[in-house]
């Protein structure tokens, strides 16, 4: 009756990955409000500090790395719950677990799409906010680079927490408690890279650490998240 056409990609593993990213980006484009919530939250948190502390350039330069990084971290945590909750509610998540594709691969795709939608805007916004703190061009470059390496790690680690708290009523608080301790190394090295650049030491070593953490989470966290999702759907 119906003979499905075999995929010309053959057994290419990456095709479902590509489709899941495309799917999530399409959905995100159709509900843009969610994207702006994260971005506006980030802008507000970071902008309030110069207003509250006063226009003393030396103080501002000193606190800038920490504040921008904490703002980015909180904003990215705010967006975490959305990674799986909608898919859980409408049943597409359980269908994903039932496909012949490796779940960890689909998880990686979903996290990547989530980062493109919630993380990349933060990275692009950060230098503009950094200007409020009178950061030098060198420091701004390091800030962008550190966020570029750090925010995907935040999404990857956060996905484990999001999967574990799926379907819980007050999951938001629990999610924060689970995920924050794991975020701390990223925060320390991220803000540290910018601080080191401001003080003239150069942020190379911090950035290398961030890259190492990113690579490790890229390999390990999708497996943990996939396992957590199976538990959540049980």
């Amino acid at each position: 009756m119906n003979t499905p056409v075999p995929s010309p990609w053959g057994r290419c593993m990456l095709e479902p990955l590509f489709w899941i990213i495309r799917r999530d980006l399409t959905i995100a484009m159709r509900r843009r409000a969610d994207v702006f919530t994260t971005l506006i939250f980030f802008a507000i948190v970071v902008s309030l500090f110069p207003l509250g502390i006063g226009p003393e350039p030396n103080t501002l330069r000193l606190i800038a790395p920490g504040i921008v990084w904490v703002g980015a971290l909180l904003a990215s945590m705010l967006a975490l719950e959305q990674i799986f909750s909608a898919d859980h509610r409408d049943g597409t998540l359980e269908q994903m677990l039932l496909t012949p594709q490796p779940v960890a691969l689909l998880v990686a795709g979903k996290v990547l799409a989530h980062w493109l939608v919630s993380g990349v805007p933060l990275v692009l916004m950060a230098p503009v906010l950094g200007l409020q703190f009178d950061l030098s061009w060198d420091a701004l470059q390091t800030l962008i680079l550190s966020l570029l390496l750090g925010t995907p790690t935040l999404s990857l680690i956060g996905a484990i927490g999001a999967a574990l708290t799926l379907g819980l009523r007050s999951g938001g608080v629990l999610l924060a408690l689970l995920v924050l301790p794991l975020y701390i190394p990223v925060l320390i090295f991220g803000a540290g890279a910018v601080e080191a650049t401001v003080s003239g030491l150069g942020g190379q070593s911090h950035l290398s650490m961030l890259a190492a953490i990113l690579v490790a989470s890229l390999v390990l966290t999708p497996l943990a998240t996939a396992a957590a999702l199976r538990v959540a759907e049980d």
């Binding site: 056409v5 899941i20 409408d90 597409t92 359980e94 594709q101 490796p102």
Partner: protein, 216 residues
């Protein structure tokens, strides 16, 4: 139970499932072979959905084994999923995507490519002509159900596990779905379904398993 002459494809062996602290069923054994339809009966809360989710591999049973061609489905995992199509209470479609997009993405994840034209044909066949391009959230309950059921037409999975597939469907759609299930079984497929509606299923190959009236 098997005599070895013709190996039944899906075997359930001494299965017990617990929800909360209530035993839903205990030591349940049955087989579904090629070309067979299993109608799962039982009152509300008797564990039909739990059993179906266990059969799909979503839920870990308390004890017992579910085997596909003689091997435990927990060890087969993706190899088993390839042959399986499960439709639960949730439709598993995204409201922000159109029927065509939903169907094509589901197909890709199921491991085959569904050309655009074929997707439109399938949706027309299931009675969604003129609604293919609308975001699914604007469709009615019954129409959303049809989008989910369209996967049955597009897929070539051997085992269908359908939890209350007739819910929200109108008379015409119920008849269509019965026809689709009948064709699937006649081709040598397997189906396990639950339904409260008295639908005339294909007589000779239908078997019934009734889950017990255990109440703690």
């Amino acid at each position: 139970m098997s005599d070895g002459t013709l190996q039944p494809a899906l075997q359930v062996d001494a299965l017990s499932c617990v929800r909360g602290d209530r035993m839903l069923f205990r030591d349940l054994s049955f087989e579904v072979g090629a070309g067979e339809l299993l109608h799962l009966k039982g009152q509300n809360g008797s564990g039909k959905t739990t059993l179906l989710r266990a059969l799909a591999g979503l839920l870990l049973p308390e004890s017992g084994e579910i085997r596909w061609n003689g091997k435990n489905i927990r060890s087969l995992r993706e190899e088993y999923s390839r042959h399986l199509l499960y439709l639960g209470h949730l439709n598993g479609i995204k409201g922000d995507l159109s029927a065509v997009e939903n169907l094509r993405i589901a197909a890709t994840l199921d491991g085959f490519r569904l050309p655009d034209s074929r997707a439109w044909d399938v949706l027309a066949e299931i009675g969604l002509k003129g609604h293919e391009d609308l975001p699914s959230k604007h469709l009615s309950q019954g129409q959303k159900r049809r989008v989910a059921l369209a996967r049955l037409l597009a897929n070539d999975a051997r085992v269908w596990i359908l939890d209350e597939p007739f819910t929200a469907l109108d008379v015409a759609a119920v008849q269509l779905l019965q026809e689709v299930i009948r064709r699937h079984v006649e081709k040598g497929g397997m189906a396990v379904i639950t339904t409260h509606q008295e639908v005339a299923m294909i007589g000779e190959h239908t078997r019934t398993v009734t889950l017990g009236q255990m109440h703690a």
